[in-house]
Symmetry: C2
Subunit: 426 residues, 2 copies
């Protein structure tokens, strides 16, 4: 029988060089996060569908891989809808499972708790170039810290992790969900339609100020409100950040909580300017929206010059754990776009340094196998050694071995110790 040997649709196999690069990226990121006191936790790939269907996941909830019930619980005849036949789903992100994890284990953990999660998530999206249905997320979260200290540490740790990977010239953009709301209200939009305004403003990069204006007016928003908002967007689009922020703040009619939010945001900017590694910059961005509806306070994204997508994004979500566990816990997270980062490293041709050189130990049929065993053992004092049967066309074989990632080779001859050679000498 011959089976289809391609991976499942929208998924991929990872070859040794790919895994090596990913392992390198993960190790560098985890090492940076460890300095900041973050510690890894893991949750299972499968969760109860009830947890994955609370609405916290937004549109991702439409993309869940659902797992069929098993045994007696599976009753096709009695099923009225397909959902009667499923009980678990593959997680679509790491934030919802972390909220469940914390609700379950808070008593065993320090307060605040600093979590790292690095693992696969699954979304049954329409397959497209560079998008996969299984992909890795890398999140850090501070749980139980209400103050903006959590945000400072998340941003610093993440900028440091990305800088350690060689991504220079990073820009951190800062915003705040509460100030966005105050701004939208201050412009005179209908408060009930705030989220709709966010969605359009979020498209500024793609459709420009005129596009945003057209879309907002097309949806029947008040002309004065649209003009007021676009005044700020024009300053943003023209690169005049100072004017943009001044106009933005002018529009807000802040209550006490709003003023505290504004003060925190300004402190965050000032502190990060001082504390970030050289080469990284920080700026308040009045148009930073971020998609997930669960954010409640500061928002942040990190972008890299020359790339249209952000390398990392996050924010504060103080009410999600409460909605799951019944008890609110202040929470704030930052997620590195692990697949994007790996893509950048690949494009730049990054080759991680190896602890040991990869050596191919070539042996023909004339070499007794005991000698192969012993020669391999001897070379392993220093190197990573793979015995390889020697083929007739040695030149071709050497070229292949070099292309396959070997650093050196040795031609084993009976009764002689192996001698390492560069492929160039081959």
């Amino acid at each position: 029988m011959k089976t289809h040997t391609a991976p499942a649709r929208g998924m991929r196999d990872l070859l040794p060089d790919q895994v090596e690069l990913r392992d390198h990226a993960a190790a560098v990121i985890l090492r940076a996060y460890a300095r900041y006191g973050f510690r890894r936790v893991e949750t299972p790939a499968l969760e109860h569908l009830a947890l994955l269907s609370t609405g916290e996941g937004g549109d991702n909830e439409k993309l869940i891989y659902k797992v069929m019930k098993r045994g007696d619980k599976l009753d096709l005849a009695a099923a009225k809808t397909p959902d009667d036949l499923v009980d678990h789903g593959l997680r679509y992100d790491l934030t919802v499972p972390l909220a469940r994890f914390y609700a379950e284990h808070a008593a065993e953990l320090p307060t605040p708790f600093r979590a790292i999660q690095l693992g696969p998530v699954w979304r049954a999206e329409r397959p497209q170039k560079g998008r996969f249905r299984q992909f890795t997320q890398c999140d850090i979260d501070v749980l139980g810290e209400p103050s903006v200290l959590a945000e400072v540490e998340l941003v610093r740790a993440t900028v440091e992790a990305l800088t350690d990977l060689g991504l220079d010239g990073l820009t951190v953009r800062l915003g705040d969900r509460r100030l966005l709301s105050a701004f939208v209200a201050g412009c005179g939009f209908d408060a009930a339609r705030t989220d709709e305004v966010f969605i359009t403003v979020d498209k500024l990069d793609k459709i420009g100020v005129d596009g945003v204006r057209k879309e907002l007016l097309g949806k029947g928003h008040d002309t004065t409100a649209v003009d007021a908002a676009c005044e700020v967007l024009e300053a943003v689009a023209s690169g005049d950040a100072t004017t943009a922020i001044a106009r933005w703040r002018d529009r807000m009619d802040l209550d006490e909580e709003g003023e505290a939010a504004e003060a925190d945001l300004l402190w965050l900017e000032t502190t990060l300017k001082r504390a970030l590694p050289d080469g990284a910059d920080v700026a308040i961005d009045p148009t930073l929206v971020r998609g997930m509806g669960y954010y409640t306070g500061p928002l942040f994204e990190i972008s890299l010059p020359g790339y249209p997508f952000s390398m990392a994004g996050g924010g504060r979500y103080d009410r999600m754990i409460g909605r799951i566990s019944g008890r609110d816990v202040p929470a704030c997270g930052f997620s590195i776009g692990f697949e994007r980062v790996v893509l950048v490293l690949e494009e730049r041709g990054v080759k991680p340094a190896r602890e040991r050189r990869a050596v191919a130990l070539l042996h023909g049929p004339e070499v007794p196998r005991d000698e192969v065993v012993d020669a391999a053992a001897a070379l392993r004092a220093e190197d990573a050694v793979t015995p390889v049967p020697r083929r007739k066309k040695l030149g071709k074989q050497l070229a292949e071995l070099e292309a396959q990632g070997f650093d050196r080779f040795a031609l084993l001859e009976p009764g002689r110790p192996p001698e390492l050679r560069d492929f160039q000498e081959g």
Copy 2:
């Protein structure tokens, strides 16, 4: 809304200390395997159900978590059986996906190819103590090497990995599927019932020689054949390995292939005796069966004194890839029981060494937050630092922090640099 916050049935969350120990175990194993030229590959968690249902997986195929079709392909009304509604499954092992991977990618890989896989698999087993429905497997495989050199290297690498983890006194047990068959035939059993005899012989540890004899006779096997087999089992059970192996070999009526298999097994034993690290032993075990029906040649297991289960097991499976891809590829693998190994390390109280000390930086409300930020940054030159708001009952807080895995603490006071202290000085 309050959601159920326990993980899905039979699954578990991993807390920081647990992940730290698992990461340590994985790192030590991967480092040993890297010396032997093995390189990591990854396949997706989901595979086509057709691949998972070829029969190669034996009883594990009954335990598959099946994933429901999506979109237009999901048609409840037209479904005659639940299987009409599913298309993918979560992998139940790493061997079947590797066979698919190799069939798909062989042209891009060296020959022989040495693969490491470390990742989760899923089986919907009845939950029981110490058994989980998601668990980690750690496999190495040599693909494309027909000679017993593959076996030597797999066994050495695995013994070295386990020894590096501090598991001393390991015993490697060796067998061969072809010799088992020759023995069963030589005793005079019905050749068509060979697998059934294997299943009973495999219970020797649990039910003893009398139990095996009773079960074989109860199933109607020939009395002379049962007596002949039990003669060997008695020598095994009494610990007289020399007699056991002599009697075992006497019973076999070997053809040319059988004689080559016997010679390879004896060479494997001799070579490993010489090449294994100090403290590890090796022995041929005529009763070593191993469950999976796909094995075709040498079989091996590693046991640790004091534990009733093996730490690792594997063997040669030269025909599996051919059954999947249509083209036979010699293949041989060894799987470490990762969860069992971690359990042993936990029982022994192993605490992995940390690269950095974990420091709790305690700060009261009187410390300006800029100073917290700067003190944390200063301490991070050497340590892993978590800022923690100071509580009123300091003694209790310090005891908790120590129990939660912090190595040191510092009490931050306004205007002063932080000073590290042991909890004993607390």
